[in-house]
Structures are given as structure tokens and as C-alpha cells.
Symmetry: C2
Subunit: 255 residues, 2 copies
Amino acid sequence: MTQLKGGPVVRTRPQIDRDAAQPVYAQLAAILRQQISDGAFRPGDQLPSEAMLVRAYGVSPMTVRRAIQRLVDEGVVSAIQGRGTFVNTVQIGAAAFELGNLQKMFSDGAGASVKLIEARFVSADEETARRLQISVGDHAIYIRRLISLRDEPAFYHRGHLIYDPTRPIVESELEVTVLKGVFSGTGSSLVKRAELSMEAVLLNEDEAALLQAPPPSAGMRLEHVFFDFDDRPISWGWFVCRSDCLRLHTQVGLE
Amino acid sequence: MTQLKGGPVVRTRPQIDRDAAQPVYAQLAAILRQQISDGAFRPGDQLPSEAMLVRAYGVSPMTVRRAIQRLVDEGVVSAIQGRGTFVNTVQIGAAAFELGNLQKMFSDGAGASVKLIEARFVSADEETARRLQISVGDHAIYIRRLISLRDEPAFYHRGHLIYDPTRPIVESELEVTVLKGVFSGTGSSLVKRAELSMEAVLLNEDEAALLQAPPPSAGMRLEHVFFDFDDRPISWGWFVCRSDCLRLHTQVGLE
DNA sequence: AAGTGGTCTAGACCACTAT
DNA sequence: TAGTGGTCTAGACCACTTT
């Protein structure tokens, strides 16, 4: 609110600052987002048209579109051709639990250490053969590791890795593939894609002992399969941790 | 590959189809994505500059930028000002488990039914008061429900809801808030945001009995707090399900 | 200095929706 | 028919990186 001398009370509108470090489209997106958050536009309400925003803020149509598009990408509004742009209700289904949070535990100087429990050649059993798309009885590498945080056991990892001298997977790459690729951010350039799944499990005796959990205990299991650029599996494995090691948080809606 | 009559072998480049239903920027993004997927550009490689793409495909700079921006948003490439655009390695940390998959179980004619087990006024205990930002001893509504899919018990839900005659939360809205808002897609216009968390738990006796799981069993617990446009909590509760009811899948990387 | 991506303009034309 | 969002142009200027 601004009180002009002797004049009427004028409701000031947030303005674009052309000298700000923040781009104009981001400023406009922030203004609209804030207005929605403040309740000036409620779920279901129609936003001012692009043409109106162009006039109101003195920016070009493309800049307005970028601002709106950002809100669309955020799921805050929906733009419908021929009708207008409307504020969304909170969509819980849009919530996503990001693995990136978990990653921080390892990247920051969080005192992560890895102890190799076992690594040996095995003959692929039926499931391993299926997951790695090899034949039953083919060689594979089986590894078991314990990953600790600040000397507390946190993750128990088991993995099966392709062993094929004709394929360009060297020992150091394996390390990357199955550990760094998961937890320390930058993956191998041999990996094209990965499939992940997560579920709650009851820790078995070995797992409970290694993770220092009193049985019966619940845990989380994160399974992974990595594929190379020929779409062939490179590795298949899973991490198991105590439930108190992996609580995922997220937020949906504004602010 | 195209064999011109008597001429040399010409490697055809994917071209833009101006008459296609798909926008030009989407076509260009798809072309580049496919080339990366095919290994024509490997992780770490630099993409052709925007100016080169403008010449190569005969489109305007803005259109090239939109195509690249889409790949950036997808996490496939990173654009660095002054240096160029580079193909990313697979970033596992970018993986996100979406709740939307779960939502489908309820929205499709999946035979979801809800049975109210209990609903009564309670005096808020310490934790409830903290979560709902009310005073200990204040009235709240406590509800318990069992949600079944195809006559199989799937989710056990407990929730505490604000009871305040001065606040515009009617009975029907409560239903929306705690159930439809979570599982059937469209939320209430009273809800501004929600906080969610997920963890593995050991089912207690009651939970195991209701969910028809033999104890000891592991389960997943999904906790939620909804906030109104005044940033005050509306409800706090949690769903518990058997582990086999909630397996989350995701994929990271190309294709 | 040359090349890169980042922003922004001031329109144009189109497809779609409402009246 | 008027209004809406969706696409696209052909530049401009800027900030940044590399040579």
C-alpha cells in the first residue's frame, strides 16, 4: 500500500526490475507464484491472459509465456488453449520422492566408508541370468559390501555384475557402476540408463546382524539394474538399510 | 542410408517435418535425444552449438533453444554459458519415485472401497498438538479407515483433523483432504500445500491383523500433513500398507 | 577476438474455445 | 467473432569462456 499525498490509497503492484540479476521471466513467474500463494488467485481461478500481463508489466509476449510456462512446469497452473490459464489444486499424485536427498549423505563429508565383504566369480542362477540377460551358468561377479556412515553400518549392498572380456567394463568402472553411480553423483559414461525400485522388507538374520538391528526389524530395499548403450544389463543388485537410515521427504504445492 | 542412383552413399540426417503435428522444437529435441541414445553423442561430448543447429535444421534460434532447454529440463544435457552444451552421465540422484503411480491404483476402476473403522472427537495429545499447531487438550477429530482394493485390505489410514468452527473446513472437505486429496487426484481448493514422508516400518499387531499380514511383517508408512492458505495445518495422518502393496519404480537416463 | 549460451523483443500465424 | 494459449521468426544485446 502506498499513500499518495492527498490522493487515494493505491494498491501497489509488484514491478519488474530490469536491472535485477534475476531474469524478467523469473521475476514475473515469482510475482504470479506469490500472488497465488497469498490467495490473490485461488485454485480454479483464471490467471490474467497473456495479453493482459504483457500490458500490465510492459514485457514482450515471449517473456510472459516463459514465466507462465515455468509455473506450468512446476504444476502450479494449467494452461488450456482457447480457454485460459488456471490455478491448480494441490495434486498429491504429483509428489515425488527424490533420491538426491539420500545422495547428500554420501557426498558431503559425511564420513562414508565402504568395506568389501566378499567378491567372487559365480555361475549365474536363474534370476541372475534373467536380470543380466545372460545364460544360466555363465560367469558373473558377485559382490557384497557394507557401507558405513560415521562408523555406523548403514547400507548392505549385494550386486551381480556382468563378466564378459569382450565388453568394455573394467574393474574401476565396476566400482563406479555399482557404488559411485548410485551414491556419489557422477556416473560412468558406459551407463545409458538405470531401472530402480524401492520397497519395504523384513530384514533377515544376516542383514539385521550386519546392520546392527534387533530382529525382527523393517528395512528399505533399493534395487537397481544398470544398462549400457547397447541396452544390455551391466549390473543388478540391491541395497538394504534400516528404516531409520532412509526416510524420504517431499513437499507438494506452494512454498 | 540412401543410395542415390550412381551417386555416393549419403548418410541421411533426420529432418524437420513442418507439416507434422509435433512442434518443430519437440522434433528437434527428439532428434538430439535419439542421437544421444544411439551413442552418436556420448556422455561428456559437446553438442553442436545453437548456431550450428540453426543452420543445420533451418530453424530459428529461439526454436533451437527450446529444444535444447527441453533436454536440459530432462537432465539429459547441461548447458554452460560460454562453453557449450554437454551430454550428462546418468545421474542416479536425479531419480524420483512418483506417487502418481500409486494413485492409478485408486483412480482406475480398481475396485477401491473405504470402510470407516472409527471417527470420534479426541483431546489433542502432545504430538497431535504439535503437528496440528494447536494446544494440548484442544479438540481434534480422530479417524481410522481401512481402504481395500478388490476386497483385499490394502491401506490402513489414521488421521487427526483440525476441529475449529471458525475455520472453513466442512465435513465433505475433510473427506477430500485426507483421502481423495491423497489418492484420487484432485485436491481441495482449501489446501495450499502438503508435506509427505515415507519410511519402512514393522507392522504392529493391529496393523498386521487389519492388513491380513502374518506378523512379523514389514510395511510402508506414508505420512502426510496438509496446510491451508494461512499456512495452518488442516490434518495430520498416515497410511500403512503391506510392503507388497507399495513397490515404487522409476527409471533414470535415456529411453 | 571469436565463439558459446542466456535473455528479450515485437511482432506473425495458427488452433482452439466461447459467445 | 473475439479472445485465448501454442508456435515460430529473425534478429538484438549481453555475459561468459576460450584462444
